[in-house]
Amino acid sequence: MDFFRFERDIPFTRWGKLSMTFSLIISILAIYSLVTKGLNLAVDFTGGTVMEISYQQPADLDKTRKVLASIGMPDAIVQNFGTSRDVIIRLPVKAEHTGGNLSETVMTALKKDDPSVEMRRVEFVGPQVGDELLENGLLAMLFVSMGIVAYLAFRFEWKFGVSCIIANLHDVLIILGCFSFFQWEFDLTVLAAVLAILGYSVNESVVISDRIRENFRKLRKADVTRVINNAITETMSRTVITHGSTQLVVISMLLFGGEALHNFALALTIGILFGIYSSIMIASPILLLLGAKREDLVKIERKPQEEAVP
């Protein structure tokens, strides 16, 4: 089998304007959604209590709501979770309840109503902890981004680092935008997925940059555009197969991982799809725009003169 082999180089860079415009529009849409709707942050970040309970028979949500209202929690959010017998209850942070007693109070009341109810999971996060987790998440993102730029600048050249990180942050923005637009719940595992994508999509840019460097050595007469297009075309096969494989695993997680891994896998899916797109259609045009040259990579002994950038 050999599916992704092309006779001629595909002129990816020629579509640069189109793809950049497209990305600009969806990035603005993503930012707009983030600003107006915000993220549906999970209890990990907002603080509060989440309880997962399970009944023997399909749950009567209204009855559960009434029980909660009767013990002074009319603002509880009660939803089905996974199956019709499983129920998830979300309770906002309340000053009078510390983590310990709130879930117990709820459980006692629910048990009185229906003794067959089983407690599956309780998560309580105090507001101060939630803020810290969010802050640490942002710090991690900053650390990883800077690390990647530094590494690529060291291995290739700063232009590669910059174009790559712009493409990557674009992916992250799209993931966040999707989570905001559809109001999917954003929890710690989704944050982990976002950061993993940040590291994973770099792979694409690295493989292409690696080819570009090689092509600069090999195709001495070719201009920069041709070198880039050839590098992308040559690595196309690997791109599709690798991401296809990763996506197979992620689909397996979506199918078998249950609710706990659902949003994690969802974030990875968006990240993988846009990762392919952005490293080809965004990173390369930016690289051209920044004025990458043969001298940047081939003659390492003579450091690139950054003033000479057109």
Binding site: Q128, N136, G147, L195, A196, V202, S245, I251, G257
Partner: protein
């Protein structure tokens, strides 16, 4: 040209064997067990105890599948959880209060495996069920508490040195002593300075009055905070021991936080109740001159508080605390001379001295012993002091049942917390959810692997099979490594494992595509294999290092579930570098390296005219 030296094959073979050996224990499963461990250092678990326990189990007709006697305790295996729970109740009444009897799970792997440290991965709470708490120590509360104690100590020192003062009071984080004249203040500074090294003194004149403002030195403050956290950890450990939990984790997290993890605990309400209790004892004097009727109507005389005595009437108690529970070294339930349930307390040296002086100065007056629990204060007893009590042995007998006496003793023995604590994070996973999470994580990895394997084998034929075998070995290394390190496996960790499968194949895809490229460019089969591996290496190392960078970021800044994911991700990258490159190359070399190849078995390749002419 595609040959490895012998030592490389040996290294690979040994690593695969080790990987197998350390991965194996994970597949034996676990069986329910009861663990009996001594509570104190002077109590031993020995063969005599083991024999006694075995006898009891035989008498009660409870079959067991073997016992393990270790220095840290005795473990007894059972066939099912029903027998386990029954046995736990019987055994705990047999061994008494000197031992912790806890439910546990023991790996079923053979003994020799355990001896070489081949243990199954340590499952996180989300996979085995249990409770995770993060508690925050209230440092401001600890400071207030110690300032109150300093005030009492300062007062008694001034009295001992006969230095007249016009009053001591606490003003937020400072203590202010007012003096009638400057001479007294000068004397106080010298004397108090000698006695209290942790305090800083500053003279002030306010409205013609000589004042001394006292604060705790910054370095002493830091030390006090550390000891407060350490003391709380010790206290929590004692309480958890009373709960009977096998393998609890209690550790400091950051400057003022403590993490408590209780695997397998099902009765979370009881766990929270015991952890959350902040019982302490206070000894104060009863204000017998105060007007109780007026106080009941709402006008409590200044400097006093209104309480109700257990089984008695209302009582006015002075606010000044003479002695706190910190001075208690032991508390045991028992009976007083009238055969009423009582709690016997032993005080430390300082406490004994204070108590002796207190009782000497107040013969004929009533003192109140208060139990402060979760900000609820109760007067346990308010006896009249008949004589001076020395020797540091105090007996509290109020109107309590013997069960209450036992509870109070336990609470006081388990220690008062040095500073108030609050639960700031809780994650409780029911045992059924834990088991479900294991199968979800396992299935995600398994079916993900199968899908990738099928695709890669179809696409790259024989070389594809080698890539898949390398991927399987990668997973073997990863699980083996996690088992050796006894890293905690969580559901996000299992997701990380699945993701490693999906990402690790990238290295082999890079290599295989390179080999195909070389063939297209007209290289001979052996040369193509050689160049494929060589040329792909740069890209492989770059891609994996950048992912490793992301993993490290997650590990450094991540907490809880994120960390579990990051650890697996980072280890997965390390095993990928070895297995995808070295191990797969070894297999290729072994199978194809020594013979003439007509073509590389890497699937059908389209060869375009253009690319073959390129060179």
């Amino acid at each position: 040209m595609n040959r490895y030296p012998l030592w490389k094959y040996i290294v690979i073979a040994v690593s695969i064997l080790l990987g197998l050996l350390y991965t194996l224990p994970n597949f034996f499963g676990e069986s329910p067990a009861v663990q009996i461990s001594p509570l104190r250092a002077d109590v031993r678990t020995d063969t005599a105890l083991l024999q006694r326990l075995e006898q009891v189990l035989n008498q009660q007709n409870l079959p067991y599948n073997g016992t393990i006697l270790e220095a840290t305790g005795i473990k007894i295996r059972f066939a099912d959880t029903d027998t386990q729970i029954k046995a736990k109740d019987i055994l705990s009444s047999e061994v008494g209060s000197d031992y912790v009897v806890a439910l546990n799970l023991l790996p079923n792997s053979p003994q020799w495996m355990r001896h070489i440290g081949a243990l199954p991965m340590y499952l996180g709470l989300d996979l085995r069920g249990g409770v995770h708490f993060m508690l925050q120590v209230d440092m401001a509360g600890a400071l207030t508490k110690s300032l109150d104690r300093f005030s009492a100590d300062l007062r008694s020192t001034l009295r001992e040195q006969r230095i007249p003062s016009a009053g001591i009071e606490r003003d937020r984080s400072k203590i202010i002593i007012r003096f009638r004249d400057e001479q007294a203040r000068e004397k106080a500074i010298t004397e108090l300075g000698k006695a209290f090294e942790d305090l800083a003194f500053q003279s002030e004149e306010v409205g013609g009055e000589a004042r001394l403002t006292i604060s705790i030195k910054p370095e002493a403050l830091v030390r006090m905070q550390n000891t407060a956290v350490q003391r709380n950890i010790t206290t929590l450990r004692n309480r958890v021991n009373e709960l009977g939990v096998a393998e609890p984790i209690i550790q400091q997290a950051g400057a003022d936080r403590v993490i408590v993890q209780l695997p397998g605990v099902q009765d979370t309400a009881k766990a929270k109740d015991i952890l959350g209790r902040t019982a302490t004892l206070e000894v104060r004097m009863v204000d017998e001159e105060g007007d109780i009727d007026a106080a009941l109507r709402g006008s409590v005389p200044p400097g006093t508080e209104l309480f109700t005595e257990r089984g008695g009437g209302p009582l006015l108690v002075k606010k000044q605390i003479l002695l706190t529970g910190d001075r208690i070294t032991d508390a045991q339930p028992g009976f007083d001379q009238d055969h009423q349930p009582a709690v016997h307390l032993t005080l430390d040296n300082n406490g004994s001295r204070i108590f002796k002086q207190l009782t000497r100065n107040n013969v004929g007056k009533r003192m109140a012993i208060l139990l402060v629990e979760k900000n609820l204060t109760e007067v346990v007893t308010a006896p009249v002091i008949r004589e001076e009590i020395g020797g540091g042995r105090v007996q509290i007998s109020g109107k309590m049942s013997s069960i209450e006496a036992r509870d109070v003793a336990l609470l006081l023995r388990a220690g008062a917390l040095a500073a108030p604590m609050e639960i700031v994070e809780e994650r409780t996973i029911g045992p059924s959810l834990g088991a479900e999470n294991i199968s979800k994580g396992f299935n995600s990895t398994l079916f993900g692997f199968l899908a990738v394997a099928t695709f890669i084998m179809a696409y790259y034929s024989a070389i594809g099979v080698i890539s898949v075998v390398a991927l399987a070995i990668n997973l073997l290394f990863l699980i083996g490594l996690l088992s050796i390190l006894q890293a905690t496996l969580t559901l996000p960790g299992m997701a990380g494992m699945a993701l490693t499968v999906g990402m690790a194949i990238d290295a082999n895809v890079l290599i295989n595509e390179r080999i195909r490229d070389e063939i297209r460019h007209g290289a001979s089969p052996q040369a193509a294999i050689h160049a494929g591996y060589e040329r792909a290496w740069d890209a492989i190392i770059d891609t994996n290092l950048t992912t490793l960078l992301a993993g490290l970021g997650l590990m450094i800044f991540g907490s809880g579930p994120i960390k579990g994911f990051a650890v697996v991700l980072c280890l997965g990258i390390l095993t990928t570098l070895f297995s995808a490159v070295t191990v797969s190359r070894a297999m290729v070399n072994l199978l194809y390296g020594n013979r003439k190849l007509a073509r590389v078995p890497i699937g059908t390749i389209k060869i375009s005219k253009k690319s073959s002419n390129k060179h």
